[in-house]
């Protein structure tokens, strides 16, 4: 069964304290791995898609990396506005639905 596991469930950081979120997956094949940010009461906001092991993408303080078994979302010098739930999802083929993890709830304290 295709499975996506995110850790930790919750993470509390001081402003400026860099850290990483993990997304590990067990799937029959990987077409793409997606990262989303979700603020309370809002829909998920697309951040990155990674397609192959070794690929990296960056956006402001966020950098996503991908290996054959997991992805990391690195947050460098976070600010309170980075507080949100970060969701990871995988797609097995071009027309199959995304399989989501349960998310990591990030709190950044000033």
């Amino acid at each position: 069964e295709d499975q996506v596991t995110q850790s930790p469930e919750a993470l509390r950081l001081q402003e400026g304290e860099s850290s990483s979120l993990n997304c590990s997956y067990t799937v029959s094949g990987l077409r793409g791995l997606f990262w989303y940010r979700q603020d309370p009461g809002k829909g998920p906001e697309f951040l990155f898609t990674l397609y192959s092991a070794g690929e990296e993408k960056e956006k402001e303080r966020l950098k996503a990396t991908l290996t054959k078994k997991e992805s990391f979302l690195h947050i460098t010098a976070p600010k309170p506005e980075d507080s949100a739930t970060y969701l990871c999802a995988v797609q097995i083929s071009g027309n199959t639905p995304l399989v989501f993890g349960k998310g990591t709830r990030l709190s950044v304290i000033a």
């Binding site: 809002k42 829909g43 906001e45 797609q91 989501f100 349960k102 998310g103």
Partner: protein
């Protein structure tokens, strides 16, 4: 990217009634999806809305309870029928464009409370 809007943004409904949620995309998309997100939980796919044919439902979701329409490439509706308090949730519309990449975008969600 695709910009997705949903109506209503929230509603409070009585048990036994039905609510139809509308989803509008600002461009033509190949695939549209409906998800449910219960409080503190991740997203669960309800169905894939197919243009011009019946929706494809995931295990545990049936057409009689969640009828879906998709009359064209930019619009879809989800109806939650004969509601019970267990249907209280956020319902999210999502769309994927076939043009370059496989990015999938989400609407802002409809927060439904059933009393």
């Amino acid at each position: 990217s695709a910009v997705i809007s949903q109506k209503p943004s929230r509603d409070i409904c009585q048990r036994g009634t039905s609510l139809t949620i509308q989803c509008q995309v600002d461009s033509q998309v190949t695939m549209m999806f409906w998800y449910r997100q219960q409080p503190g939980q991740s997203l669960t796919l309800i169905a894939t809305a197919n243009q011009g044919s019946e929706a494809t439902y995931e295990s545990g979701f049936v057409i009689d309870k969640f009828p879906i329409s998709r009359p064209n490439l930019t619009f879809s509706t989800l109806t939650v029928s004969n509601m019970s308090p267990e249907d209280s949730s956020i319902y999210l519309c999502s769309a994927k464009s076939g043009q370059g990449g496989y990015e999938q975008y989400f609407g802002p969600g409809t927060r439904l409370t059933v009393t």
